[in-house]
């Protein structure tokens, strides 16, 4: 029997119908809303609840934020301005207009504000070759090497010879290392370089500096550490801790992974101790104990003491992050490096570290963000970081009772810094991802 249905089917369509448009409920804004906002009863309820929440918050906050008090000179004056405009409540932005310089620079002399600003611009230039290697000429890296000395001189001022002689110490150490490494083992040459630099700093520098400053008095007005404050202080401490903690952290991580039991236990002990105590106790050590631990008569700068402790703190966390990267590296990489005949430091420098650091980028950046946020803790040992300054501003009778405006401003600046750091880490991850999967 034939398979055709010629007898049973009265009509067979011979041409395809044109495709119909999809139902209106699945395309366009409506379809998107149905799929993403109202896919089920629970989702619909949640959407309505959160939309109501957003509307409520905006309704409460926006009129408060947009208040005509930019010109206010005190809290009472702000209230008068508000009453004149017919509002019963609103932010008092006058405090930001009047005190933003203080929040940025603390008690830094007003005529010298150009110095921190210039340092900040130099900082951006100096980190450019590290952050955006492919867009910036490599020669800028020489400026990056000079930057710490320029920054110290610009911020603290005084004679130029201190930073110059300190820089020359590094040069002397490096030259000695280069010449010595031709004759003796690299480790011994390194030791010789370090000894030469230390001799330069401790013997020659104190001897030469006063004379040099007298003969060629090049210098700018010197600024005391206690005049530092605001975001300038946070950034100074944060950047120093970040820059110094990475190399120390790498060394600690290598020490912790090392085969030498003594080195390993010293590193483990240090890392676990620092990670086990809160930063605030380390800051107490910086403010009251460090002078007891050092030779009698030593009394050095509080900012420097805080920097040392914050750096040690950050280094311990950094070490753990890098250890994670080292552990995540396949064993074959270590064995491959050995089979090429590379020695320990060559293997670390050429094979292990580039890969391990790449794996640990997200962790490193979140440690950076953490350190930067933690610089606010110095307000507890009565240094004037932004939060400390906000208390100081409130102590002024004109601004007694101003909370929100200051907190919103400080929080916003911190948010901008930290959020851009985390976005940069995402960018770097994408850029360095050489596609292993």
């Amino acid at each position: 029997m034939s398979d055709t249905h010629a007898e049973t089917v009265a009509f067979v369509r011979e041409t395809m119908l044109p495709q119909k448009a999809p139902p209106a409920s699945t395309v366009g804004p409506l379809g998107w809303a149905k799929a993403n906002l109202f896919s089920s009863y629970v989702n619909g309820a949640l959407t309505i609840l959160s939309a109501a929440f957003i509307v409520f918050v905006l309704y409460e906050i926006l009129p408060w934020l947009i208040s005509p008090t930019w010109e206010g000179t005190s809290l009472t004056n702000c209230r008068e301005l508000l009453a004149a405009a017919g509002d019963d409540r609103g932010a008092c932005w006058g405090v930001i207009r009047e005190r933003w310089q203080q929040l940025m620079f603390g008690f830094y002399p007003r005529t010298e504000y150009w110095r921190p600003v210039l340092t900040f611009i130099f900082l951006l230039v100096a980190i450019a070759p590290i952050l955006f290697a492919q867009f910036v000429p490599a020669k800028v890296a020489y400026f990056s090497a000079l930057f710490p000395f320029i920054a110290v001189w610009l911020l603290w001022g005084g004679t130029i010879w201190g930073p110059v002689l300190a820089l020359l110490g590094f040069v002397v150490g490096f030259v000695v290392f280069r010449y010595a490494s031709r004759a003796i083992a690299p480790a011994l040459a390194l030791a010789a370089g370090v000894v030469a630099a230390i001799i330069w700093w401790s013997v020659i520098t104190p001897f030469v500096e006063p004379d040099l400053s007298r003969i060629l008095p090049i210098g700018i007005r010197s600024v005391q550490s206690r005049e530092f404050g605001g975001f300038m202080l946070s950034i100074t401490i944060g950047v120093t801790a970040i820059m110094c903690s990475l190399p120390i952290g790498i060394l600690l991580a290598l020490g912790r992974q090392s085969d030498l039991p003594l080195v390993k236990s010293i590193c483990v002990g240090f890392i676990e101790f620092i990670r086990g105590v809160p930063l605030i106790t380390l800051l107490f050590v910086a403010s009251v104990l460090l002078n007891i631990f050092l030779p009698p008569g030593t009394n050095f700068d509080i900012i420097l003491r805080v920097m040392i402790m914050v750096t040690l703190f950050a280094a311990a966390y950094m070490a753990e992050v890098i250890r994670g990267g080292l552990a995540a590296l396949p064993k074959g990489q270590y064995e491959g490096a050995d089979s090429l005949g590379l020695d320990y430091w060559q293997a670390q420098r050429l094979i292990i570290m580039p890969q391990a650091l790449k794996i640990s980028i997200p962790g490193i950046v979140s440690t950076f963000i953490g350190v930067f946020k933690d610089t606010t803790l110095v307000s507890i040992i009565s240094m004037f970081d932004p939060i400390g300054l906000s208390n100081a501003i409130r102590a002024d009778t004109a601004w007694n009772g101003v909370y929100w405006e200051l907190f919103i401003f400080i929080g916003f600046v911190f948010f901008v810094f930290c959020f851009s750091m985390s976005r940069y880490s995402m960018y770097l991850e994408r850029k360095l991802n050489t596609g292993h999967r």
Binding site: N36, L260, S379, I387
Partner: protein
């Protein structure tokens, strides 16, 4: 014909200490140890000399002198004539209290936010992203101070509760009073209580609490036995008996019996004079610290939870469904055990961070161990070396204990690999 012989014994030369890898390791370690010991010795020597110059003999005797200051929020009885060590202990309990409360709320909130961030509801997911980014990128100290400001500024004063035209009223059937001085919640009282027991003459522990914990522990033990019997029965017959009411009853009924036997009732806060009396008083500083630490840490936990859930491949869910498991069982038997393996190690460090961040209590005047031992005791006795070292030691012990407990738990949930 030649015979193989041992290579000629190499005589030891001094240069081998540097150039020969067999000896170099030992050389380096001895050098490192020497440098380390020299550093320690140098520090100790400096310290001894400095202390001698200041005329201070390192001693912990000051811990037994009367403290002479009041602590406004205490878990155990304390008055200003008690020794410094008791003040430090009160502070330690306060640290542990806020750390415990914070860890619990941060976990609940963090898991909720982490799951909601993965929700297919666009608005909810964005809202949660805003929450996470906002809290992660602003310093925790700032949130603590801000929470304190919110509580002081926006809550009603106790006087607002007074009179016929009161502008505020107590919440939850007149049992909780939320004021700008703090929160008053009902306190558990026992009319036929068992009293206290003294430990070593220093601390009293409530026998009621001990009885409560013992009965609770017993109940949980019985309930787990029931579950184990049910498991065995399921293995043998394939049918799982319904046991949830038995298990619930095993925990709840003995507790209810105990509470009736001890004469349990709630002591409600009442407005007397200018302030509330009775009930348990939680100061604003505690609430602000608790709130800020929970919200801040929850943002980090949410990210860990999200990463943990994303780490489980969709194939696992599908395979479990193909085996015929119901959605709840898929979550509890397949997804959760694997996600926990990823989530728990970072969760441990978040708990540690929260505990260490609780030391910021000093910014809002909550008297934790930093505020008592390393704050007022330090200032009153001038013993900065002893107090700070002791404080660090205490924090170190807490951290090591938390990580030991959590690592033990981690090793239990960890999947056993080859």
């Amino acid at each position: 014909m030649t015979t193989l012989t041992d290579p000629p014994a190499e005589s030891f030369k001094l240069s081998m200490l540097v150039y020969d890898t067999r000896y170099r390791a030992i050389t380096f370690q001895i050098l490192a140890l020497l440098a380390f010991l020299t550093l320690i010795g140098w520090l100790i020597n400096n310290t001894a000399q400095n202390l001698a110059d200041l005329g201070k003999e390192p001693s912990f005797a000051f811990l037994y002198a009367p403290a002479g200051y009041d602590i406004n929020q205490t878990l155990i009885a304390y008055n200003n004539q008690d020794p410094h060590i008791r003040a430090a202990f009160v502070g330690l309990l306060n640290t542990l209290l806020v750390a415990f409360l914070g860890c619990v709320t941060a976990t609940i909130l963090g898991v909720l936010v982490g799951v909601l961030r993965l929700s297919n509801n666009w608005l909810i997911a964005r809202l949660m992203t805003v929450y996470v980014e906002m809290f992660r990128n602003v310093p925790v100290l700032m949130w603590i101070v801000l929470c304190m400001a919110i509580l002081i500024e926006s809550l009603p004063a106790p006087s607002a509760f007074r009179g016929d035209d009161a502008t505020s009223s107590m919440a939850l059937f007149d049992s909780v009073a939320v004021t700008n001085r703090g929160v008053y919640v009902p306190e558990p009282l026992f009319s036929r209580g068992l009293g206290d027991i003294s430990v070593g003459g220093y601390f009293e522990i409530s026998l009621d609490l001990i009885a409560f914990l013992v009965v609770l522990g017993g109940g949980i033990f019985v309930s787990r036995q029931i579950a184990r019997r049910a498991d065995a029965q399921q293995e043998a017959t394939g049918v799982r008996p319904k046991t949830w009411y038995l298990r619930l009853g095993a925990v709840v009924v003995p507790l209810l019996v105990l509470m009736v036997a001890l004469g349990f009732h709630l002591g409600l806060p009442e407005l007397k004079g200018f302030n509330f009396q009775g009930g348990t008083y939680m100061r604003n500083s505690l609430i602000a610290l608790w709130l800020a630490l929970s919200l801040y840490t929850a943002a980090f936990i949410a990210e860990n939870v999200r990463a943990g859930i994303l780490a489980i491949s969709k194939g696992q869910t599908e395979a479990a469904a193909a085996l015929g498991l119901r959605p709840r069982r898929i979550t509890s038997l397949v997804i959760l055990p694997q996600a926990l393996r990823v989530i728990i190690p970072p969760l441990i460090s978040q708990y540690l961070n929260l505990t260490k961040n609780s030391s910021l209590a000093i910014a809002v005047g909550y008297m934790d161990i930093t505020g008592t031992l390393m704050g007022i005791t330090l200032n009153q006795t001038g013993r900065e070396l002893e107090t700070v070292l002791l404080g660090m030691l205490i924090y170190l012990t807490i951290s090591l204990l938390i990580s030991a407990v959590m690592n033990w738990y981690n090793s239990r949930v960890k999947l056993v690999e080859r």
